[in-house]
Symmetry: C2
């Protein structure tokens, strides 16, 4: 199946937003999605964007049952390791189920790695849920390490009232 | 003890670099540190920086045995959740041992939360090693959740030859 991977444009945000929800449903956390396509447009397509995104597009003849041509996306940004330096972080990688098995996911992942290397990133990182063995296997087969298993790193988060409390206690200097 | 928290300047990179190594020694991974203060200067203090940093500075009369006045730092950057939006990610938080117990660590953490809130971030995230219970307790006491424990998120990484292999397989489009 012919497909093209290209940098997302502002006009793709409705498609990206639709697929963000599809991915969250797969991850069994769809009630957590609070983002709108307007926010994606603002945060990814203005000056100093908070993320970059690639989309996979098929030709007219292969469009989905519902008429969609943008059938996959990879959303990423740059982070920093104080031990190793620049890192590209893959937040989401998704291909619509009916388009899987055509190398689109692999193509998106490789393209993110290529973009990262061009920016002198020495790492590509991401997170995956512990029950999601198909995805873990997909990455492991390509050489990824599981750092939670091997080094014991845990994710920690402040949000809501806890984040407000912290911010409100900031020293005035 | 009097201390001031301020945005790091390029001239602070030698102090930051010194403390990055001290923190890595504490985390028992000092052999992993490959970053130089020149790289920190390039990556944090040019256009479109990869990170931002706060430092804690004490007055002359309180300087360390070795003569250091910059005695703590918080290095952070912005990431993005496709479910919730803007996030501030705290990569490193460190206070030199002889200056602990004076509220400097708490001050740095709160200041990062404040900076994040000003940028409309809805989350402050970070990672901590599973054996490092003092640090886990420090964050938990302030309301942080452990997402690896509660939701099962694992960290995954590609680097070195595995990252090169991925990048080299990127579709040409």
């Amino acid at each position: 199946m012919d497909f093209k991977i290209r940098a997302a444009e502002k006009e793709d945000c409705k498609d990206i937003s639709r697929m963000i929800m599809e991915l969250a449903v797969y991850e069994k956390m769809s009630e957590q999605v609070k983002i709108s396509h307007e926010e994606l447009e603002r945060d990814g397509f203005s000056q100093n964007p908070f993320f970059e995104c690639l989309v996979a597009e098929v030709t007219d003849e292969h469009k989905s049952k519902e008429g969609f041509k943008v059938v996959g996306y990879a959303l990423y940004f740059y982070t920093y390791s104080t031990w190793k330096g620049r890192t590209v972080y893959l937040e989401d990688l998704y291909v619509m189920p009916e388009f899987r098995g055509n190398g689109i996911g692999k193509g998106l992942l490789s393209k993110v790695a290529e973009v990262g290397k061009k920016k002198q990133c020495v790492r590509l990182q991401l997170s995956v849920l512990n029950w999601n063995t198909p995805t873990q296997d997909f990455y492991a087969a390509k050489g990824a390490q599981d750092l939670t298993a091997s080094e014991g790193w845990h994710f920690i988060r402040f949000d809501g009232q806890n984040l407000d409390n912290l911010a409100n206690e900031a020293p005035k200097s």
